[in-house]
Structures are given as C-alpha cells and as structure tokens.
Amino acid sequence: MSLTTMLLAPSESYTPPGPGDFNLPPVGPDHTFTFLGQEMYLGVTKPMLMIVLSAVLVFVFFRAAAAKREMVPGKLQYVGELGYGFVRNQLGRDIIGSKDFMRFVPFLFALFFFVLLNNLFATIPFLQFPTFSRAGLVYGLVLISWLVYNIAGIKAQGGLFAYLKHQTVPPGVHGPMLALLIPLEFFSNILVRPLTLALRLFANMLAGHILLILFALGGEYLLVHGEGLVKPVGIVAWLMFIVIAFLELLVQALQAYVFTLLSALYISGAIAEEH
C-alpha cells in the first residue's frame, strides 16, 4: 500500500507509510523509464532540487563567512571558522594525522556539511524531506568516498599491488592462515565498506522519516476515524511525533558526522605506513 492508494482512494482503512512515500513525482513534465527492472520517473524531482540547493547554501554560507578574514571574527565568520575548524581538526588532523591531512580537508569539509545540511532538510519546514533517503544520491556520494580512499591508498603505498597487500595482508600472519585472511580482508576493506557506508546513511534517513510519517498520519487517522477513547491516542501520537523529530535532529547530525568520520578513517587506514 502506498501514497498512491491514499491519493486515489481516500478510504476508511489505514495505509501505513512505506518506501513509496519517498518516490516523489517530478516537479515538471513527467515521463517514466525502466531501470534495473523498476519503473522510474524521468524528470526533476524535489530531492534533486534540494541536493542542488544544499550545495548552493553550503557554498554561499562558507564563502560569506570566509570572505571577511578579520583577525577578530564577527558572528558569521566565527560560526564559519568554528564549523571549518571542527572538520579540519577533529575529523582531519586527529584522524588522518598532521602529516598529510591538509590534502583531504577540502573533501572532508565539503562532505560533512553537504551531508549535514541534506539531513537537516528533513526537519526544516516546507523542505521536510531527507535527501539521502534516496538511495541513488547516497550511492553517488559513497562512490566518491570509495574512490578517494582507494586512490589515496594506491598513491601512498606506491602501486595497486602494494596497496592491495597493505589492505589485505595483516601483519604478523604467515602460511595457510593468509589464504583464509586475504579474501576476508579484501571483502571487508574493499567491498563491504562502501556498502555499509551507503546503507547506514540511507537507511537511517529513510527509517527516521517513515517513523515521522507514521506518527503524523497515524495520529491523524486515529483522531479523525477513531472511536471514543481512541481519539486522544491520536494526540499522544502527535506528541510522540515531536519527540521523535528532536531525536531525528540528533540522528541527522550524527549520521553526517559518522559518514565523514568513517571516510576519514578509511583514508587514514589506506595511507598509513606499513606497520
């Protein structure tokens, strides 16, 4: 059941929210196409506009904050420096190490605030849609992160083979154990990392928002169609909605942090010197 049935048939029966609620129709003219056996919209959709908006906002804000360059910063510059300094020092210098972290700071900086703002969009009134509940948008970002840490590793270790050896052969292991460990390490360090990175962000955003829809629509349903004592439960559901919304704010910030933190950790592991 989905939005479709709700829109087309405003029946008395309750329709729980599902993934279909995140497949918003395009803003402009709409066509469909089939990809991987699934029919998809061909057009400009809300999440697409929002992801562009987020990039514009992040750039404009930090450009304005960085433009003044005063020794004693004003409010805007102070906030900008605080945000940049956080990514630079906490996620960059402390994890990658002071030797070569500056190379990756632009990437980590853009990544963190890009993900953070897109996540916060889920709570900002009128936007109220988690951009990264769309798997495609997450996969693109994860692909970049995967390429960054692997390419950095290949460069740092001096060649693809040396890098693969660095990532898959644990130090101090000899003989037949290697036959067991190398595929495992390869699987974990090269293949699974991007999957977990993508799923963690995507699933958190999707599930959190489904929960919010559930409380909002469920509360409304109970209030409108409930009988007698069931009606007040709708109010309770709406109160729960507010509580969950604050929890979601935390999750949104946390997921942006975790995504960037893991990207930094992967880079750090890839370029680490042979131990």
Partner: protein
C-alpha cells in the same frame, strides 16, 4: 499528473541513475568551489591569526623586558641619588660645624682685639690726663702758695723745684698708705 502505480514492488535500495550522477556532479562542484574559494581564506586567516598572536606575545615580552630594565635602571639611579644626598648632607653638616667654629674663633679674636684696644686707649688717656694734671696742679699750687705766703714765686726755677719736692713727698706718702692698706687687706 501521472503517478507510477508502484505498490509493493518498489525496492528503495535500487538507485535512480540520474540521482547517482547528480549527486556526484553536485558534490564535485561543491568540493572544487570550497577548495578554491573557501578553504584558502580560512587557512590564511588561521595562519595570520597565529602569527599575529605569536608576534603580539613576542612584542609583549620585549616590552616587558624593556620595562624591567628601565625599572632596574631607575631604581639604581634612585639609590645613587639617595646616596649622593646623604653624602651632601654629611658634608654640609661638617662644613656648617666648621664655619660655626671658625666664626666663633673669629668673634673671640675680634672681641679680644677690641678689649685690648680699649685698654690701650684708656691707658694712654690716663697718661695724658696724669701729665696735664701734673702741670696744671703745679701751676695752681704755686700761684696759690704765692698768694698765701705773700712772697712772689715768680722765679720759675725755684718754684719748679718746690713743686717737684712736694710731689715727690706726696708720692712717697701715697705709696706708704698704699702699702699700709694692702698690708691690712692681706692680713
């Protein structure tokens, strides 16, 4: 508006291809813009601030050292001045004492001199008075005696002899009474 009748078939894990490309392009653009226009400014500001703070600290240290040196110098000068003042005071005291004693001596001398001078004057005046008295007394006595005796004592030689003899007798008499009085005074 056409809505896809997705129903339960929708798999949220299947990506929208345009979204993958869009995400990469948008993030890539943000990355390059941030790298080119945002980060250098922040880094420059950080570096300038660090150097400004370090420079400020260094300047403050220099100033502090200068102030300390100046303070020490001033204290040195002050103690020198105190020393000097004490010396001058001591000298002044000595000098004052010397001047006072000199003045005293001088005054003593002056007073002695004045007294001596007075004594001498008195003596000479007395001598003068004695001489003139002796002459006058002689003349007076002679003329008096002449009148009394009735005989002229116009002969000066005789008169002078008589006077001298009288005076000598008188002096002898005086000395005898002086000796007598001094003898009674001493007894």
């Amino acid at each position: 508006m056409y809505v896809i009748p997705l129903a339960e078939k929708l798999n949220p894990l299947l990506p929208h291809p345009i979204e993958i490309v869009l995400s990469i392009v948008v993030f890539g653009l943000l990355y390059f813009l941030a790298k080119k226009y945002v980060l250098p400014n922040f880094e420059k500001t950080f570096a300038e601030r660090t150097s400004a703070i370090e420079g400020g600290l260094k300047a403050a240290e220099t100033k502090q050292a200068e102030a300390d040196a100046k303070l020490a110098e001033l204290e040195q000068r002050l103690s020198d001045a105190r020393h000097e003042a004490a010396k001058i005071r001591e000298e002044a005291r000595e000098q004052g004492a010397r001047i006072v004693s000199e003045m005293r001596e001088q005054a003593q001398e002056e007073s002695t001199r004045i007294v001596e001078h007075g004594k001498a004057q008195i003596e000479s005046e007395r001598q003068q008075a004695v001489t003139s008295l002796r002459a006058e007394v002689g003349t007076l006595a002679t003329s008096l005696a002449g009148r009394i005796v009735g005989e002229t004592l116009e002969d000066d030689d005789r008169a002078a002899r008589v006077v001298d003899r009288f005076l000598a007798d008188l002096e002898l008499h005086n000395e005898a009474t002086d000796a007598g009085s001094s003898a009674t005074g001493s007894s």
